[in-house]
Structures are given as C-alpha cells and as structure tokens.
C-alpha cells in the first residue's frame, strides 16, 4: 500500500552529519564523505548531494522541499520517495542521522534562480579502505575522472 504524503513526512526528517566521525566536502557536481572511524570514502552525485545539503541546512523538511522544487522538475511524492531512499542509505552507512530540532550547524541554503532541471538518479559510490586508495598516485594511476578512479 502506498504511503500517504503525511506518512512520508513522518519518516523523513532533516539531517545532521554523524558528529566527529564523518566529514564532508561539496564540489560543484558532487559531495564526498569520509567516515573517519571506519575509513570508508563515499562520493554522491549532484542531485543526491543537493537533497542531502537541503536536509542538512533547512529548519524543516518542507523548507528543504521548497528549495529542491525550485531547482528540480519534480512533484512532491517523487521527491519524498527519492529523498527517503537516499536518506535510508546514508543512515545505514552511518553518515547522517535524523535531526529532531530545528537547529542546524551546516550553514544556509544558497538562493537558486536558474531553470529547474530533471531530477536524475543519484549514485552513492563507496570505497572501503581510505588508506588503501590513498596509495594511488593521483596523477599517474588515475583515469580522466581523477582520483580515486584508477586506470583499470
């Protein structure tokens, strides 16, 4: 049975990064995470990164969705489903956890004035040993996507 929008909202919350154990950086078209405790490194593609940023920096899910709907051509139900899948995956990886209050330490959302884009599928890639992948020479052993994508 399909969940109603209200129920979607009940299981989707704003987020916090897992304190002390996880660090992240935003690039122009992706977000990268490093789990310092277990040494896992992750890359998350653009649309997924926007959803995480919106949920990290908004006071409420509604506020996050308002921002995302200005950026992407999507309806509320699809957006909920998209974010729920992503957040579930990120929580399983212990990168984020649900935020109960409205406080956020992760900055504010930048204003957006462009044309909304189609919401493409996100990709969360996981590299299981940061010490191992740091051994790759980032100039000579990588393909055109750059480290940590190594030449096969």
């Amino acid at each position: 049975m399909a969940l109603t929008q209200e129920k979607f909202k009940m299981i989707l919350s704003t987020l916090n990064i897992t304190e002390n154990d996880v660090v992240y950086e935003e690039y122009e078209d992706e977000m990268i995470f490093l789990h310092l405790k277990n040494g896992y490194y992750y890359t998350l593609t653009n649309e997924g990164a926007d959803c995480v940023i919106a949920l990290l920096r908004s006071a409420s899910v509604d506020e996050a969705f308002t921002w995302l709907k200005e950026k992407y051509e999507t309806d509320e139900t699809s957006l909920h489903s998209y974010c729920k899948d992503l957040v579930t995956e990120l929580i399983q990886e212990e990168l984020v956890h649900e935020r109960k209050d409205k406080q956020t330490d992760d900055g504010i959302l930048d204003g957006f004035s462009g044309v909304p884009k189609k919401l493409q599928s996100y990709h969360l890639d996981k590299y299981e040993d940061i010490q191992d992948i740091l051994k790759f020479d980032p100039v000579h052993e990588v393909n055109e996507d750059g480290w940590p994508s190594v030449i096969e």
């Binding site: 690039y27 490093l34 740091l134 055109e144 480290w147 940590p148 994508s149």
Partner: protein
C-alpha cells in the same frame, strides 16, 4: 622598487617563471587568472610537474571552477583536490585528537603552519596540502606533553633528547610519528633559529583562540602568521617552499586591517630575519601587487642588514653540501651566538661545544666521527 630575484641569495626559494604563473592562475581573479592559466597550461605537463607546483593544484582547481574554466584535465585536478582533502582530513582528525588529549592535561596548544592556515584562511582542507601537522606547547610542559604523546602511541623520530632542559634551549621541536605513519612536529618555539629562553613569548602573547568542532586551540595572530609564513619561504627546503606566496597572499587578502606593519618589521629585527622579510614583502608587492603600505616597503628597504645576518642568509637559504663541515660549524655558531647575544665573546666561545653537541644530536665527543661519516654518506 624591484624584488630583483635572480641575483639574490634567496633566489632559489622564490617561484620560477612557470611557478609564478601557476600561483597567479590559482590566486588571482578575472582576466589575470585566466591569462595566467592559459599560458601556464600551454607550457607544462601535469604528469611531469615539479612537487612544489603539484601542491598548488587544489587551489588552482578551485579557481578554475570559480571562473567556469573547462579543461580536459579538470577531472584529474579535481581528483588531486579530493586526494588532498582526504589526506588532510585524516591528519586534522589526528591533530584534533592530540589537542584534546593535551588540553585535557591542562597543556595549552597552538597550531602552526598548514593546520592553522586551513581553518583561518583557506576554509577548506582540500586547498592546502599538508604532509604533517605542527603544534606548539609552552616550554615548561615539554616533559608532560612528550610523556602523554608516547602514552597514546606517538613515537619520537630519531633519538629523544629533549628531556634535558639544556637541549630544549638549543632545539625548536621534536618530530613524532604514530602507528599509521602520520607525522606531528611538536614545537616549543615557532622558529628553528629562535630557541633561546622565552623566544616564543611574543607569539603566545598575540595569539588568538579558535574553535573547531568542540576543540579549542590557539593560532598565531595575523601579523605573526604573516611573519612566520614569509620567513618559512626563506628557509632552504628540498622542495622549494613556494606555497608561502599563496599563504601570505590569503593572509593579506583577508586581514587588510589587522596587520600591524611596524610590529612586523620589529619581529624581523628581533629574530634577525630582516633580509627574508624584505625580499618577501617586496616580492609580494612587486610581482603580485599585494596591498602593502608603500611607507612600510620603503622602511624595510632602507633597513640596515647586519653582517651576521648577511652571512647567515647565505648559509640558510641553500643546502649546505655534506662535505662543508666549515659552513655547518659557522651556521651552528650563528645560532649559538644569536641565543647568547648578551654574553661576551669569550663566554659564547666557552659554551659553544655543548651547544654544538646538542645541535647535531650527539651526547659524547666520541660520537663525532660517526656523525661526520653519516653526514658524508647522506644518512
């Protein structure tokens, strides 16, 4: 006013023409950045880039993105940025854990160099590659700090001789390494030439407190940070220390009203670094258009350089060949006399042997032949 780089003894520590273009492509805005990027990228191959330039690539990548410049190498540049972000995050995590442990034992900590500059000025750990981190503690806490570091898994690099207060007065710090190969330089004075009693006091007095997550630590004030940065550009280093230009540029850009220029010149006099400061400031002003008051440039250009500093600068700014024991002796003598500049020449002479032994890390004179042999062999 010209920085007149090529004829100066510090010339090898300044960027060459290609490195200068890279710095400008990474730091400047608008057309100047774009033009320097075009010329630089047309004349170099990233695959064969020198190490000093390589360390500037994350900063270059960020500026290319800011200027919407596309290049086939953008993926590789971004990868280099991600690589350094990860390496730095691991080091910063180690640094913050160590700071927490030291502060838990009531030991005040100041972060020096990259570990501080990242939080103060770069604002992203991807942009300023680090190979280790540097922290400074009060001199009277050395024994406590060393004991704590060893207890939590940091091992001294080489022989640990700093438990002797006489040795502490002749050295600026001790390197440590942890089980994963992360390196930490533990300082009690920020300059390796300024090891005399209370040489570091000025730096603590003007330091500032910053907070990263729940960790609180001190960093140099803006004037001292600029001084420390420019001076490090003057030391000999196997990898030319050209990133001092980027560090100094960012400090000047972000602290236009907080640099105490007269105090900066005083620091040069107190620590005998007028020459390096002079060349550094003139270079930043002339070649990079840095906003340095003309009267300060004029004052420092007219400052008299002592004979000792002139000779010392020649020894400091390049690698002393291993067979030139005479130059090494001279360098150590200058270090010694700088520390005891209030003592008579005879008194300085009398205390030189013990200073010499501590400086080259030997305990007995019988170890001297072995030191010389190792030096010849480059061990």
């Amino acid at each position: 006013m010209s920085s007149n780089k090529s004829s100066h003894p510090l010339a090898s520590n300044f960027p060459d023409a290609s490195q200068e273009m890279l710095l400008k492509a990474a730091l400047f805005s608008g057309e100047e950045a774009i033009e320097n990027w075009k010329t630089w990228s047309g004349s170099v191959d990233i695959d064969t880039l020198d190490g000093a330039s390589f360390r500037l690539l994350p900063l270059l990548h960020a500026n290319l993105v800011k200027h919407n410049i596309t290049t086939p190498a953008i993926g590789k540049l971004k990868g280099i940025s991600r690589f350094h972000w990860c390496k730095n995050q691991i080091l910063i995590n180690k640094m913050l854990s160590l700071i927490a442990a030291l502060r838990n034992e009531q030991i005040d900590v100041m972060v020096l160099k990259g570990g501080a500059l990242i939080f103060q000025y770069y604002k992203s750990s991807a942009l300023r590659p680090m190979s280790d981190f540097d922290i400074m503690i009060p001199r009277d806490k050395i024994a406590d700090a060393v004991a704590l570091m060893q207890e939590i898994g940091w091992k001294p690099v080489g022989k640990l001789m700093i438990s002797d207060p006489a040795v502490q007065a002749k050295r600026h710090g001790q390197s440590f390494v942890d089980g994963q190969g992360n390196e930490c330089d533990l300082h009690w004075t920020p300059l390796f030439t300024a090891t005399w009693d209370r040489a570091e006091a000025l730096f603590w007095e003007t330091s500032e407190e910053i907070q990263v997550k729940e960790n609180v630590f001190r960093v140099l004030g803006p004037t001292e940070q600029l001084f420390h940065t420019v001076i490090h550009g003057g030391y000999y280093n196997q990898m030319p220390p050209i990133r001092w230009v980027a560090d100094a540029w960012l400090i000047l850009e972000q602290e236009p009203n907080r640099i105490d220029w007269k105090h900066l010149l005083e620091l040069g006099t107190i620590y005998s670094y007028t020459t390096i400061l002079q060349r550094g400031l003139l270079y930043l002003s002339t070649d990079f258009g840095a906003n340095i008051p003309p009267e300060i440039l004029s004052m420092i250009s007219n400052k008299k350089i002592t004979l000792r500093e002139k000779i010392e600068i020649r020894a400091l700014s390049k690698k002393i060949p291993s067979y030139r024991i005479d130059l090494l002796l001279l360098k150590i003598w200058f270090r010694h006399s700088q520390q005891r500049n209030n003592a008579s020449f005879l008194s300085q002479l009398a205390t030189f042997p013990s200073f010499f032994k501590a400086y080259i890390s030997i305990e007995k004179w019988s170890q001297l032949p072995s030191f010389i042999v190792k030096r010849y062999r480059g061990i």
